[in-house]
Amino acid sequence: MSASAHSVIEPSATSKRVAGAIVILYAVITMIPLFWIIATSFKTPPDSIAYPPKVVFTPSIEGYCNLFTTRTRQTAEYIQSLPPATNFCDETTRKRNMVIAGQSNFLPRFVNSLIIAFGSTFCAVFLGTLTAYGFSRFKVPLADDLLFFILSTRMMPPIAVAIPIYLMYRELGLSDTALGMILLYTAVNVSLAVWLLKGFIDEIPREYEEAAMIDGYSRLQSFWKVVLPQATTGIAATAIFCLIFAWNEYAFAALLTSGTAQTAPPFIPTIIGEGGQDWPAVAAGTTIFLVPILVFTILLRKQLLRGITFGAVRK
């Protein structure tokens, strides 16, 4: 596809070099905030709010300690009367005249995020695959209208959806439950799943299944044994997109959950220390939260375009 080296349209070496330099400069600048947040997670609280901002600092895992624990202030005499500290977290906390009082809510919130993200992704991809196959292979009356309807549910502002959902969940006892959030995220993600998967399934030649059916497979068997194995890449890519959405989602989570079912995004901004936001702890939570996304971005880079345009643009 690409032009050969001596083609007239191949950009010159200089223009390539200039283009490369500008793009790399942009990439580096755009990464600064991200590096900064990761760096902050390894700073001590005084280092994190130093002026001018500290680029060189002694790394510490105090932020991570503070993220996972709650602490109470104690008198020096009391701290001295305690048995010697057993680990780094204990030690640093005591240096600040505090003792660890217990576990913070971060871990349960993180687990909620995992349960809700994976649960809703499974449901959305399951339903989406079936529906996409249905639209791809059968003549469904009003197919275009139904597909547009499925897409349009995604255009609604989340807050507008949240108002009646809030009332409905209150009536059904689903407020602040993982099940309620899974249902909601499934409904939001299923539109993406249907649109993406329909594109992927459309690309699998019908002849395969038809041949299988002539060999005696039923429609369901040929779907299960012929189409699904062919669509694995598409299903995996779709699943990751759904996972990222559910993982990152904030608006619904902030409005509809408050305690037991709260996920990490609305929780992280609420981490506060003494006298304001505990930035190293917030940064630590953010870093832990972002790592899976970075991994997914690398895995997905080839399918990214398709995913973000609902399958409208394919490479």
């Binding site: 990439a27 900064w36 409905m168 369901l220």
Partner: protein, 322 residues
């Protein structure tokens, strides 16, 4: 050979199926295609009806009342179109719409300009362009809430990195750069974060557009001795335009409903300078608990998004078919 055989066989099988009376066909294939189709599509439709359409209908019904969700036992009065009337004549709503328009307009302008330029440069295919493209894409994959929160740290007066860098280069003392609490700067603070986060999105779509232009068109232009400038304006830009418009459409819809980032950066403040429509909606619905009123506002927003998107898609199709 085998393909041809398969097609022949298939045709034979199809004729056989068509000739077979329905009940027999059903028995042969266990489930008719029609049954399978409905079995596959119905669950999704039921879910969307339950989670999206039913609540929407409920919201429409509530929008004609003075219902308040925090007082469920109070008698609900039907107020007719009063909620809608108040929203459309209320100056606060118009301020919110103005803030939204300002935000949507500038984010789209900046993201399209930067995104397209980046795509154009990446399309020069310098060494390592694939790697750097992936690096640039990272911000758009992050959670807007988390992004909003850590940019709040970068914007902190005195200690924030952004504040420090700006003051370092401009010489303005850092205590005077209050990105989030100054009426003048706050809207731009949000625009900067959104642009940082979503420029890669526009870039990626533009890149697909640029790559969709076949080489032979440029070769022909070269033969005709069209200048690079001329080639850009009469080949590159027009042929990438449908893609650019697609990116603008998606960004426009997304930013029209923007909530998470603004909520965490400024919460609508200072005063109500950055109070975009979704923030107003949240304040009305979940702080003042005017459920009926906010339902009406939600419906208006939904109709607006839907209408704008529809008009835009029509224009897009026109451009595409040109």
């Amino acid at each position: 050979m085998t393909d041809a055989n398969a097609t022949l066989l298939e045709r034979a099988a199809e004729t056989a199926v068509r000739a077979t009376p329905a009940p027999v066909a059903t028995r042969v294939r266990a489930l008719s295609d029609r049954a399978v189709a409905w079995l596959f599509i119905a669950p999704t439709m039921v879910l969307l009806l339950a989670i999206n359409i039913f609540p929407l209908i409920w919201a429409i019904q509530l929008s004609f009342t003075n219902y308040r969700a925090n007082r469920p036992n109070e008698t609900v009065k039907n107020v007719g179109l009063q909620n809608y009337e108040r929203i459309l004549t209320d100056s606060d709503t118009w301020l919110a719409m103005q803030a939204t328009a300002h935000f949507v307009f500038w984010t789209i302008v900046l993201q399209t300009l930067i995104g397209f330029s980046l795509a154009y440069l990446i399309d020069r295919k310098f060494r390592g362009h694939a790697f750097w493209t992936t690096v640039i894409l990272v911000p758009m994959m992050l959670s807007p809430a988390v992004v909003g929160n850590f940019w709040r740290f970068l914007y902190e007066p005195q200690i924030g990195l952004f504040t420090y860098i700006v003051s370092f280069f401009s010489g303005i003392p850092p205590s005077e750069i209050a990105m989030l609490s100054s009426v003048k700067l706050a809207p731009w603070a949000i625009i900067i974060v959104d642009t940082w986060m979503w420029t890669p999105y526009v870039m990626l779509i533009c890149l697909a557009g640029l790559r969709s232009i076949p080489d032979y068109i440029y070769e022909a232009a070269e033969v005709d001795r069209a200048s690079p400038w001329r080639q850009f304006w009469s080949i590159t830009l027009p042929m990438a335009l449908p893609f650019i418009m697609l990116a603008v459409l998606f960004r426009g819809i997304e930013n029209f409903k923007m909530f998470d980032m603004v909520n965490l950066l400024t919460g609508g403040g200072p005063g109500s300078t950055t109070e975009v429509a979704s923030i107003t909606l949240k304040r009305e619905a979940f702080e003042k608990w005017r459920t009926g009123f906010s339902s009406a506002f939600a419906i208006i927003l939904f109709v607006a998004v839907f209408g704008l998107a529809n008009i835009y898609v029509k224009v897009l199709n026109k451009v595409k078919s040109r």
